[in-house]
């Protein structure tokens, strides 16, 4: 028998040895070889030797497990050590925590807001399949408007895309039969509405197909809020009769709390069309429906949008004329349909800003870690000399990054908490803004994740360097003189340059936004809102059954207010300026004698009914012609005023004054254009003039009205007078939103203010981070070069020349960063300006709308009603 172990046994030993921790492998192998040879000697044969050798695996496994436990203990020791060593470098620790805290904090804040706006989940089963379908028109640039009945039938008939669909419309209705009669926003819904929605009932049942029958008794479903506020949560409410605009309706159910859709609706009534809707509704040009659809499980909103859009476009291109040829369709998931495009754009801009801040924070952190790793190079080399492997060193550096990340992340979450609280106070109180951004577990987990990722990515470069570093070099590299010291410095310099460039971009963005906001506030509205009071009234149809009584009420209100002390001018109007009105009506106009649409051109304009006092109340003079006058009454010649935009639109070359125009489809009355008004600001944002017409209230019919009151003194002083006068006229009519026009406009701009403040704050933070980065770079470089600087002094350099040299180094980097940053900022600004038609933002700051779209949110929500 040869003294050499059999091949099989040696192979087994080699494999088992792989399990044994490296530093014990040699002695393990020696022990086993000794044992095996002893066994062969004693037993004189190799019988059972292989089986005996199998024990080596259990032995090796045991040693591996034991080593694992030691490593865990080692990890805890490392953590404790890292914490101790970090606490000995308070400046590094604080800078690093602040950097990560700011980065993560701002990211968390914006994510929370975005979550509040976008991800607020709908409480319905498989809500991700719910979608809204809109018309769009590429020729007029209008996207998302209501759908006509024939379009609804054609589009949602695509059973390959939609599982079910329904439509609804908002109506103002008087509701009586509850505790207090009131005017409510009611949703009139088509069959299949609640089946598509899959919402639940708190009481009774929801509307079904049987309610659609014109012969069936009229039914109504109450919203949970209405049931609580006006019916005292009465469980016996089912079967009761309430009157909707005077017509009896039987209450059949109450919607479950929070499951009402659309959210603004107070109650739901069925469309009692039966199978054939009235001719007027059945017109393809009558865009009056909101469409709710449930997509098939395998169809995405985007896919549906493409398919339905293509179908709609091809129909309209082949069958329509004029601007209607541009009509298409858009399918939007119901969750994001809640968010108007402008708000989404605002979030996009904020998201970009926050990404930049996070990026800058990451760069800063990476820089700090590099400096730190440089300072630790000796320690790490010492560890390497004492037997620490490369992976072990890398783990040590990464572990430190992770520890910093957790600290910075926690700090960031705290900052975000404060920021969100600040935002809630910035938002106007009771402005109907139901956004309540708050931190939740998801966001916090996300933030910590971001911090960890950021820090680990930032720590990657130092960790790789640490694991690669050559001992001798690091131990000798006393003064940053060797090639390695220089290459570290190069990395850090490029990081600082990148940082400055990025913060430059951010600051430019912030500056543009702030300037645009300032321009908003200072822009010429072509009207004087100071000293103007506004309020709305809603006349219950029970007290004012016919138009004559309504008109009488308004006439009486205007004349009584006009004669009250301290009041200069008064107008009842269908629409308030500066985006304050809840409702806006647009009508299409045709010029007398011109071919009618669809063959001829159609001009859409906002329709405003006003009294002669309207223009005095807003201190506006007509540019040409005359203003509305008291003798423009129902019996006299029908007149109309247009604003400049409308005049330019309808008659770009000829004078519009004296020509007669007609509101197409809605009325047959030809009105003579008697005056042209300047483009007084109708929306909340300046510089976006839209065509508008003004008609005498006495020559139009309207129910829901607002009032404009110019006061002689402070508007606040006149509030009591207005209340007294209106109460005397009819105490049962509530005054809604009685306040100054200026204050109302400020509330409208609250969203813009939030974006501006946040953007400014981000720019400022970025600047601080970048300055910190430059400071850190120069400071460490000076510290590392102490010896060199000393030599320079010794060789005759003056303190001044040394100082200049150091300053030059920082200055060069700053200049380089600024240069790159300016180029980037200009291209970013150009990019943003592409969205607006009127040139680069520095030329026309008002045109840079990307920065303040949030304010459009509420306006668009209202317009969609």
């Amino acid at each position: 028998m040869s003294p050499k172990l059999p091949e099989m046994v040696r192979a087994l030993l080699r494999i088992a040895q792989l399990l044994v921790p490296a530093h014990r492998a040699a002695s393990w192998r020696r022990q086993w070889e000794a044992e095996l040879s002893h066994r062969r000697m004693v037993s004189g044969s190799d019988r059972g030797l292989v089986r005996f050798t199998l024990g080596a695996f259990r032995h090796a496994g045991f040693m591996a497990r034991e080593e694992g436990m030691t490593m865990t203990r080692g990890f805890l020791v490392d953590v404790a050590f890292t914490m101790r060593s970090l606490s000995r470098r308070p400046a590094f620790l604080m800078l690093s925590l602040a950097t990560l805290g700011v980065g993560v904090g701002s990211a968390t804040t914006v994510v929370s807001v975005a979550e509040a706006v976008l991800l607020r989940s709908l409480p319905f089963a498989e809500a991700d399949r719910l979608a809204a379908v809109y018309s769009s028109n590429a020729s007029t640039g209008m996207n998302r408007f209501s759908v006509s009945y024939p379009d609804f039938v054609d589009w949602t008939g695509r059973s390959d895309l939609f599982e079910s669909a329904s439509m609804y419309a908002y109506r103002d209705r008087d509701l009586s039969g509850s505790d207090d009669p009131q005017r409510l926003l009611v949703a009139v819904v088509h069959t299949g509405f609640f089946e598509t929605l899959r919402g639940g009932a708190a009481l009774g049942r929801l509307l079904g197909t049987s309610d659609q029958d014109p012969q069936a008794e009229a039914t109504i479903v109450l919203g949970h809020g209405l049931w609580v506020s006006s019916f005292g949560s009465d469980p016996e409410v089912i079967g009761r009769t309430v009157r909707v605009d005077g017509a009896p309706h039987t209450v059949i159910g109450v919607v479950a709390e929070g499951e009402g859709w659309p959210r603004e609706a107070a109650a739901w009534v069925p469309l009692q069309y039966g199978n054939s809707p009235p001719e007027q509704v059945d017109r393809r040009s009558n865009h009056m429906w909101q469409v709710l659809a449930r997509l098939r499980a395998d169809v995405s909103p985007n896919a549906a949008s493409q398919q339905v859009g293509a179908m709609a476009r091809s129909w309209y291109t082949n069958n329509a004329t004029g601007t209607e040829r541009g009509i298409g369709a858009a399918v939007v998931s119901l969750g994001s349909a809640n968010v108007p495009g402008e708000a989404a754009l605002g979030l996009g801009v904020m998201g970009t800003a926050v990404l930049l801040v996070l990026l800058i924070a990451c760069i800063n952190q990476s820089n700090l870690l590099l400096v730190h790793a440089w300072a630790r190079a000796r320690e790490l080399s010492l560890r390497a000399a004492l037997g620490a492997g490369r992976s072990r060193l890398a783990a040590l550096v990464m572990g430190e990054s992770a520890l910093l990340a957790l600290g910075g992340g926690a700090l960031g979450v705290g900052l975000a908490h404060l920021a969100l609280r600040g935002m809630r106070t910035l938002a106007p109180e009771g402005s109907g803004n139901d956004l309540d951004p708050h931190l939740n577990a998801f966001v916090v987990a996300g933030a910590l994740g971001i911090a960890l990722m950021a820090s680990l990515i930032a720590g990657l470069a130092p960790a790789l360097r640490a694991s690669r570093s050559s001992m001798a070099e690091a131990l000798n590299d006393g003064g940053g003189r060797t090639s390695q010291g220089r290459s570290w410095a190069r990395i850090r310099r490029s990081l600082v340059v990148a940082e400055i460039a990025l913060s430059m971009v951010l600051l430019t963005g912030a500056g543009l936004t702030i300037r645009a906001f300032q321009a908003q506030i200072n822009s010429d509205m072509h009207l004087d809102a100071e000293g103007v009071l506004i309020f709305n009234v809603r006349l219950p149809s029970s007290g004012y059954p016919d138009q004559a009584l309504v008109t009488q009420y308004y006439d009486e209100a205007v004349s009584r207010l006009e004669s009250a002390p301290g009041i200069v001018a008064v107008s009842a109007t269908s629409s308030l300026p500066l985006g304050v009105s809840r409702f806006r009506t647009r009508r299409v106009f045709v010029v007398e004698g011109a071919p009618e649409p669809p063959a001829g051109p159609d001009f859409a304009a906002q329709w405003i009914e006003a009294d002669p006092g309207y223009f005095e109340a807003l201190s506006v003079e007509p540019l040409r012609g005359r203003a509305l006058m008291a003798d423009d009454v129902s019996g006299s010649v029908p007149v109309i005023m247009v604003n400049e935009s409308m005049a330019r639109l309808m008659s770009p070359e000829q004078e519009i004054l004296g020509r007669r125009i007609r509101s197409w489809r809605d009325e047959n009355m030809l009105r003579e254009v008697v005056g042209v008004m300047p483009d007084l600001q109708l929306g909340s944002i300046a510089g976006r003039s839209e065509p508008a017409v003004f008609v005498p209230r006495a020559q139009a019919e309207s129910r829901a009205m607002s009032f404009l009151v110019r006061t002689a003194g402070k508007p606040g002083d006149a509030i009591a007078t207005v209340r007294a006068v209106m109460g005397e006229l009819n105490g049962d009519v509530a005054l809604d939103g009685l306040r100054g026009l200026e204050a109302a406009h400020r509330d409208e701009l609250a969203g813009v203010r939030i974006v501006t403040v946040l953007f400014g704050a981000f720019g400022f933070l970025a600047l601080i981070l970048a300055v910190g980065g430059v400071y850190g770079l120069v400071a460490t470089s000076v510290a590392q070069r102490t010896r060199e600087l000393g030599v320079r002094r010794a060789l005759g350099g003056t303190a001044g020349s040394v100082r200049t040299m150091v300053l030059m180094e920082g200055g060069r980097l700053a200049l380089l960063g600024l240069g790159i940053g300016v180029v980037l900022a200009i291209s970013v600004a150009e990019l943003l300006a592409l969205a607006s038609p009127s040139g680069p933002p520095w030329a026309r700051p008002c045109s840079w709308r990307a920065g303040f779209p949030l304010c459009e949110l509420r306006a668009s929500v209202r317009l969609r009603r």
């Binding site: 003294p3 002695s27 020696r30 022990q31 070889e33 000794a34 044992e35 040879s37 002893h38 066994r39 000697m41 004693v42 005996f52 050798t53 199998l54 024990g55 080596a56 695996f57 259990r58 032995h59 045991f62 040693m63 034991e66």
Partner: protein
């Protein structure tokens, strides 16, 4: 490593073998009939617990005998105490008869 009170029977057997003069793994396996997969980890464990101690055989001696040097184990003082405790505990398993067979089997033959 748990102290003597809860030493498993295998560990007691190994300590017992060491106390009787066995010095390395294969000897103990021969003595106790335990498998190699049990004995080698157990020896390390006993050493970690301070109940046994190991020492590499003098390399010159091994070279003269043309074999690898061995790792010799000896029992420590603490090991002896633990062994006495363990033996007492297992001895407390009193003789008894199950299904007509008396345990321990040796009692019957003597």
């Amino acid at each position: 490593m748990p102290k003597s009170k809860s030493l498993p029977v295998g560990a007691v057997m190994i300590l017992h073998a060491l106390a009787r003069g066995s010095r390395y793994g294969f000897d103990i396996i021969e003595q106790t009939g335990l498998t190699s997969g049990t004995v080698y980890p157990a020896l390390d464990r006993l050493e970690n617990a301070g109940l046994a101690r190991s020492k590499w055989e003098d390399a010159d001696l091994a070279r003269r005998e043309k074999r690898p040097s061995r790792r010799y184990f000896t029992i420590t003082g603490a090991g002896k105490t633990a062994l006495i405790d363990g033996l007492a505990r297992y001895r407390a398993l009193a003789p008894l008869t199950i299904d007509g067979v008396a345990y321990p089997v040796r009692e019957q033959t003597s």
